[in-house]
Symmetry: C2
Subunit: 490 residues, 2 copies
């Protein structure tokens, strides 16, 4: 399979002997590290502070919010022993930290003076899923940040929800060159125990699937009531806080790989690439390491002085061809080749990973040129992904066109009776699956949870096309209240 | 108890409903964050790359290195269930990651070209200890970094061990103002499964106890043999790698609190304090918020332009006295008071947390002054801690003086037959405990593991005093081969 080959050969991932757990090697972890720095900088400006809560949660607390625990219970990993001794009470490993954090919120928040409270943590969480695990996209342990805030009003909470979602949109678009569609989740797909979930949804060209990029939840007062998080307002009245939570995971890296990769391997978006440029000397009788070194090192210094992440690959045990292949597989945006003629002419050959472009350039001001070029590459990669995505978001207003459109690797935008009609959402999921399997001549199986060919709602996009009066829902035939986006999803 | 009051009131820690687990609030997490940035920067220069390995380890792998598993087995937390389903095989939560990482090392390392391999990860680990847990100092889950490297020769590995230990010494001394004594652990106290352990040991003045600051292990070839980590050297011969591992935990924060804190609360070392200076306006009829604001904001901007972490506490719902107390409790190194007279005279009053010094200063060039002053405070806090520590490291050459010296809140430096004589180390532990309890008129209990009054070896300091010929070991009476440091330890 292309994906697992690419992430292994590029040294992003190594497989591990426990199913659903993976090793993030430096080549992928560095991307996460760069995203962390970027996000920390942004959330700091939103008044959010980092902290760390425990990995473990007691059974009592985990089960306090009923809808919440129902959503997570089947996937919870339980610790029952230490050494050879059984624990008196089993304890859960966090699948998410609402029930871990909110009892503390209840202790800390007494007065309107204590609000808003805005916290974030970077941590590992465990969801023992039985769907096929895939590195980055669906793993049993994954890394994420989770933001948790409490506010005096619904409006304040909602604007936090939107600020977090906007941040996630920027992570995808401004860092990873991946366009996303922001919108609301339907009731059926929202966060267990929350009031409303917003999401950014991405499109994977190679298989036409959708993938949830990140979510930001307006929790309303549900958790506040369960965990008794009250404050005295300015009039001395006791009120329940309004809360949000929002998370972005290492899934981002997998989405980036799938959207941009090609036959040669990774194609890294410049802003998060662990290395942005690599210098390869073409050694021969005409060009010894001794002669190449000063030339290449001065290029390296020029690049670094522009704040770029660059490397001079001076290893003598590998030939240039091996190195080209190695760094192409790893997706480094720019390769700088230095041969004997280049040195004579005081130039270099620049090779662009994402489109194979080759340019001969003078070494003077090379750093400045490369810095600008990386920004051009960012824009071009993003534009390309937008075009590809836009071609595959198709409006459908009659059910007969739904599955055929889906089959052509499209996401489908349809009129919809509304996010509260879960039974019709279920109907679409089931019916799209049946029709797809019939088209393929496969037997229809009873298991309606299989997501391989069923369409599910991705979101009700914030950006709604016009909805002419009298438009009917594609499924129920009731009057439509909005457009909803469907897809075969990860 | 002073310690738990201080860490709770300063908003560093909140207690949690699972024993041995604690909440690191922003006021402590920020310190960890600053230490992370500093360490990442340093290890990057040592060629170490960050990565992330799984939280879980299978029973098979955990038990592969026999001495290693013996050291950790009683403290391992086991996951046996997901949801309501029993796992086929129980899996352990990492107490440390040697057995998680080294099978991958075996896959990745084939040739001398793949060496050295230098990795680090920032993660949480779990050791389900039954000793009294204490926030930061001994918790069941804690945060740390763990470095793991593989080398072609013993010498290269050993120089990595020393480079990591030197880094830890600098973390304590250059960031936390805590002097440490570097040295070798005895065989009895070394890392389970390793060849040799180096350590930095700190002294806690308030109770005269020692505490292990951080350790760096030369693993020799033990793990390499067990996990079959081989490489072809330049002659084509198959060799086993030489390995190191080294870790520093959130314990550092607790040590810092204990060494510097006073009756008013925390005293923060300037280089890691989340805030280095706080500006408090003294509002009254003579000085309204409107008048204070521009004056204080321009001071804040001046401080920030010097790269300082500063805050203007403009909250109107608290009076200055409350604020002084609040920021003193949190240990902020410098308070800048702004009253009506200060504004008239174009000055401020600067109050130093660690010694209470008060200085009236013109606002011109205040930022530069504060920046320098913070460095002075760093030096003074470190000097003070060195003096206090030095007064309490006492040489003892006769056993009769050992326990009486220990009782006076001292660490004890004695001549010693050698790190291989574990039986005499055990004898000192047992005998020092018996004598101490006798002195207190308490019953001698059989449990010799209790560390409350027993002395144990801290390290064989690198910096060895002269050892005159004919000096005898204080315990065995055999000829001494070195000086060893003893203490009542955490």
């Amino acid at each position: 399979m292309w994906y697992s080959n690419v992430i292994v050969l590029s040294e992003m991932i190594s497989y591990y002997d426990i199913s659903g757990c993976y090793i993030l090697r430096p080549w992928s972890y560095k991307i996460w590290d760069l995203m962390q720095q970027w996000i920390n900088n942004k959330i700091y400006k939103l008044g959010v502070e980092n902290c760390y809560f425990p990995l473990f949660v007691s059974k009592d607390r985990l089960e306090k919010e009923k809808d919440h625990v129902e959503g997570f219970a089947p996937e919870v990993a339980w610790v029952t022993k230490s050494g050879d001794t059984d624990l008196k009470e089993q304890i859960a490993i966090r699948p998410t930290s609402e029930t871990i954090m909110y009892p503390a919120f209840s202790d800390w928040i007494k007065s309107h003076r204590d609000l808003p409270l805005k916290l974030n943590q970077w941590s590992n969480v465990v969801r023992w899923e039985f769907k096929d695990p895939t590195p980055f996209l669906r793993s049993r342990e994954f890394l994420w940040q989770e933001g948790h805030t409490a506010h005096a009003t619904f409006e304040e909470a909602d604007s936090m929800v939107m600020a977090a979602l906007d941040l996630y949109k920027k992570v995808y678009q401004d860092l990873l060159c991946v366009p996303v569609i922001p919108g609301y989740k339907t009731n059926k797909e929202k966060f267990a125990g929350g009031h409303q979930t917003t999401t950014v949804e991405a499109y994977i060209p190679m298989n036409g699937r959708a993938i949830q990029g990140a979510t930001s939840h307006n929790l309303g007062q549900n958790f506040g009531k369960m965990f008794d998080i009250k404050f005295q307002d300015e009039k001395g009245e006791s009120k329940i806080v309004w809360q949000t939570s929002w998370g972005l995971t290492t899934r981002t890296i997998g989405v980036m790989v799938m959207v941009h990769g090609d036959d040669k391997g990774l194609v890294m978006p410049p802003r998060v690439s662990p290395l942005q440029a690599v210098i390869v000397p073409i050694l021969s009788k005409k060009l010894t390491m001794e002669n190449a070194n000063p030339y290449c090192i001065s290029i390296l210094e020029d690049l670094e002085s522009q704040g770029l992440r660059a490397k001079y690959d001076d290893r003598s045990m590998y030939n240039p061809g091996w190195k080209y292949n190695h760094w192409e597989q790893k997706g480094v945006p720019i390769r700088i080749e230095v041969g004997p003629t280049d040195i004579e002419k005081n130039q270099v050959r620049v090779v662009i990973r994402y489109n194979g472009e080759k340019i001969d350039l003078p070494v003077a001001d090379l750093g400045v040129y490369i810095k600008d070029k990386l920004e051009d590459i960012h824009k071009a990669m993003f534009e390309k992904a937008v075009t590809e995505r836009d071609e595959h978001v198709v409006k459908v207003t009659e059910w007969k066109d739904f599955v055929p459109t889906l089959e052509k690797k499209n996401l489908v935008l349809t009129p919809w009776c509304g996010p509260e009609f879960e039974e019709w959402e279920e109907w679409v999921k089931k019916t799209s699956r049946e029709e797809s399997l019939k088209n393929r001549g496969e037997e229809f199986e009873e298991d309606t949870t299989a997501t391989s060919v069923a369409a599910k709602t991705l979101c009700i996009p914030f950006d709604q096309p016009e909805l002419p009066e009298g438009t009917m829902c594609i499924a129920s035939g009731k009057p439509a209240s909005c457009w909803v986006l469907w897809g075969r999803s990860y």
